[in-house]
C-alpha cells in the first residue's frame, strides 16, 4: 500500500494549483442554482457564467511561470497550457456575449439557464484536456467536454436539424472515443503505464514492437482527430455545424479545436520525443516510427478536402464548417513539424483564428437574425444594406483567406515559415496551393455583398449599435494584429515550452 500521507500531501499541493478550474466548478454550481431559484430572469445565469470566466482568467494569470505536475501526475500546468487555456476562456466569454444577441436561442428561453451552465461545463472539460498528462485523464476530459457539447448542439431541440445534428454528433463521438480507448488499452499493454511521462521513459529504455505502437498511436490520434475534425474523422462536422445554433457552431470551431490541438501536441511531445530538449528547439524522436509523416499526411488530406468541398457550398454555416476543416489542416501542418517553431506557429495561428472565425460567425448570426436564412445568396448587396457589417465581414473573410494586411496572413506566414524551416518544402507548396483555392469561396461572399445588382440594395438593415460595437471589437484587432503582431508572437514564443517533467 502506498503511503497515504504522501498522497494526501500531493493532493493538497495540487488543489492549490487547480484554482482556475475550481472557479469554473463553483460557477457551474452557482449558475445551476440560480437557474432554479430565479426562473424569471433571462440572462442572470449568463452574467454569472461571464463573471466566473473572468475570475478563472485572473486565477490563470497568477499561474504565469509555474511548471507543475499535480494529482499524481494526472495534470500538468505549464506556459503552453496557460496560453491554450486563455484561448478557451476568451472564446467562451465571447460566445456567451454572442448568445445574448441570438434570436434562435431566445425562442426557448425557459431553458437558457441550462445553456449557459453547459457552456461552463464544456469550458471546464477543455481546461482539463489542455493540461492532461495521463491517457485516462485525457479520455475523461474529452468526455466531459463532449457530453456538454452534444447537448448544446441540440439545444434548440424544436428545430429538426438541430436534433439531427446532436444525434449525429453523439454517435460519431461515441464511436471515436471507443476507438481511442482501444488505442489507449493497446498502449497500456505495450508499455505498462497510462502516464505519458512513464510511457516516454519506457519507450526510451526498451525496444517496443513497431506495429502495435503505430496502431495504438494512430487509434489515439483518431480520438483527437475527431475533436479537431481532421479528415478521415471529419464526417460529423458539416452536419453538426449546420444544425447547431450558430453560437455553438462558432464555439465548436474554435474552443474545442484549441483543446484538441493542445492535447495532441502535448501527447506527441511528451510521449514520443526524448526528454533531453536541446536549445535549438529540435525534438528528438524516440523509436523509429516517424510521426512527422503521419501528421503531415493527415494535414494534406484535411486541408485539401476541406477547401475543395467548401467551394460548392451555398450555405454560409456549411461553408464556414468546411473552411474550419481546412484551417485544421493548416494547423496540422505546423503540428507535423514537431519542433518549438511549429508549436509557437500553432499558438500564434490559434489566437488570430479565434478572432477572425468568431467574428465571421457573429456576422452570420446577426444576418440570420434579420433575414432568417444562412444562404450565401442572401448576402447579395449586404455591403450596401448595412455598410458597417459588410466591411467587418470583408475583413474577417480576407483574414480567413490569409491575405495581408490582416492577422490571418501573419498566422499563415508563421505556419509556412515553420514548415519550410523544418525542410518540408513539398508540404508548404501544398499549403500555399490550398490557400489559393480557399480564396475563391471566401471572395465569392464578398462579391455577393458588393458586386451584385439587386433591387433590395436600398432596403437598409439596421443592427443594434452594441452588436456593431462587438463586431468591431473583433474586426479591429484582426486588422491591427496584421500590422503590429510582435506582442502575440512574443507571447507565443514565451508559451511554447511544453513541460515534460524532470
Amino acid at each position: 500500500m502506498m503511503d497515504l500521507n504522501y498522497i494526501t500531501e500531493d493532493l493538497i499541493k495540487s488543489v492549490g494549483q487547480f484554482l482556475p478550474e475550481t472557479a469554473l466548478i463553483i460557477t457551474f454550481l452557482v449558475a445551476m442554482m440560480a437557474d432554479i431559484l430565479f426562473k424569471r430572469s433571462k440572462h442572470l445565469t449568463g452574467y454569472i457564467a461571464m463573471a466566473g470566466l473572468v475570475i478563472a482568467g485572473f486565477l490563470l494569470y497568477h499561474q504565469t511561470g509555474v511548471n507543475f505536475k499535480g494529482f499524481a501526475n494526472m495534470l500538468v500546468i505549464d506556459a503552453f497550457g496557460q496560453f491554450m487555456k486563455y484561448i478557451v476562456l476568451l472564446s467562451s466569454l465571447i460566445i456567451i456575449i454572442f448568445s445574448f444577441y441570438s434570436d434562435e436561442l431566445h425562442a426557448a428561453h425557459s431553458r437558457l439557464g441550462e445553456y449557459y451552465t453547459l457552456i461552463i461545463g464544456m469550458t471546464f472539460g477543455m481546461m482539463l484536456l489542455v493540461g492532461s498528462s495521463n491517457l485516462i485523464m485525457i479520455y475523461l476530459a474529452i468526455e466531459t467536454m463532449s457530453i456538454s457539447s452534444y447537448i448544446l448542439a441540440g439545444y434548440t431541440k424544436e428545430v429538426k436539424r438541430a436534433s439531427e445534428a446532436s444525434l449525429k454528433y453523439v454517435i460519431f463521438g461515441a464511436v471515436s472515443s471507443g476507438i481511442m480507448v482501444y488505442g489507449i488499452s493497446i498502449m497500456f499493454g505495450l508499455t505498462g503505464s497510462l502516464n505519458l511521462f512513464d510511457i516516454n521513459q519506457y519507450l526510451a529504455s526498451h525496444q517496443v514492437d513497431h506495429l502495435p505502437l503505430l496502431i495504438s498511436g494512430l487509434l489515439i490520434v483518431a480520438g483527437f482527430g475527431y475533436k479537431i475534425s481532421a479528415v478521415p474523422f471529419h464526417f460529423w462536422t458539416p452536419d453538426v455545424y449546420e444544425g447547431a445554433p450558430i453560437t455553438i457552431t462558432a464555439y465548436l470551431s474554435v474552443a474545442s479545436k484549441a483543446a484538441g490541438f493542445a492535447v495532441m501536441l502535448r501527447f506527441f511531445k511528451t510521449t514520443f520525443f526524448g526528454a533531453d530538449q536541446l536549445l535549438d528547439g529540435t525534438w528528438h524522436l524516440l523509436g523509429s516510427i516517424n510521426w512527422h509523416y503521419v501528421v503531415a499526411a493527415l494535414a494534406i488530406l484535411t486541408m485539401t478536402l476541406g477547401n475543395l468541398v467548401a467551394l460548392w457550398q451555398s450555405n454560409m454555416k456549411r461553408m464556414l464548417a468546411y473552411s474550419s476543416i481546412a484551417h485544421a489542416g493548416y494547423l496540422l501542418m505546423a503540428v507535423s513539424v514537431m519542433n518549438d517553431g511549429g508549436v509557437s506557429a500553432v499558438l500564434i495561428y490559434f489566437f488570430f483564428y479565434m478572432l477572425m472565425n468568431l467574428g465571421a460567425f457573429f456576422v452570420v448570426q446577426l444576418v440570420s437574425n434579420k433575414l432568417h436564412t444562412e444562404d450565401i445568396e442572401a448576402y447579395s448587396g449586404l455591403g450596401y444594406r448595412s455598410p458597417l457589417i459588410g466591411v467587418a465581414l470583408t475583413i474577417f473573410l480576407i483574414s480567413l483567406t490569409g491575405l495581408p494586411p490582416t492577422a490571418g496572413f501573419i498566422g499563415k506566414l508563421y505556419v509556412f515559415t515553420s514548415v519550410i524551416d523544418a525542410g518540408y518544402y513539398w508540404l508548404a507548396v501544398v499549403g500555399v496551393l490550398n490557400s489559393v483555392v480557399s480564396l475563391y469561396y471566401y471572395v465569392k461572399v464578398i462579391r455577393n455583398m458588393y458586386l451584385r445588382d439587386i433591387e433590395s440594395k436600398e432596403d437598409k438593415l439596421v443592427f443594434s449599435p452594441s452588436a456593431i460595437v462587438i463586431v468591431f471589437v473583433l474586426a479591429v484587432p484582426t486588422l491591427i494584429f496584421g500590422m503590429y503582431f510582435t506582442p502575440i508572437v512574443e507571447w507565443a514564443n514565451f508559451s511554447m515550452n511544453i513541460f515534460i517533467g524532470n
Binding site: 497515504l4 494526501t8 493532493l11 493538497i12 466548478i25 454550481l29 445551476m32 442554482m33 437557474d35 432554479i36
Partner: protein
Amino acid sequence: MVTEFGIILLYFILGFLFVGIALVMAALIRPSHPNPIKNSTYECGEIPIGEPWIRFNVRFYVIALVFLLFDVEVVFLLPWAIVFKQLGWFAFIEMIIFVVILLVGLAYVWGKGDLDWEKPKPYIAKLEDLVLGKKKQ
C-alpha cells in the same frame, strides 16, 4: 505447461462444458408434455398481456439516472469511510464538497420538476355517456 492466459481459456471451456452438459442431461431425462399454457410467457403467474416490445415511459430513465448518481456516491463513500481516521479533516471536507456537488444535482432535478411523476389520466366512460351515445372527449 499452460500459461496464465491458457488457464483462463481452460476456465472458459470448463464453464461452457458445465452448462452444456447440465442442459443436455436435463433434456434427455425430463418428461416432455407441452401445452399452450405451459408454453406461454411466465409473468409472475399473471396472464401475459400484449407484446414485450412496448415503449417504456421516459421517466424511468430519468429516475434511473438520478439513482445512478447516488449509487456512485455510495461507492465512493465506502473506501472513504475506511481511510477516514487516517486522513482526518482534509478527507472530511473533501467528501462534504463531493456530497454537496451531488446534492446540487438533486436540487436541480427537483427544481426542474423531473421528480414529479405525472400519472396518465385514463378516460373512464360514465354510464350516461354510454346510454345517451355521447362522443368520447
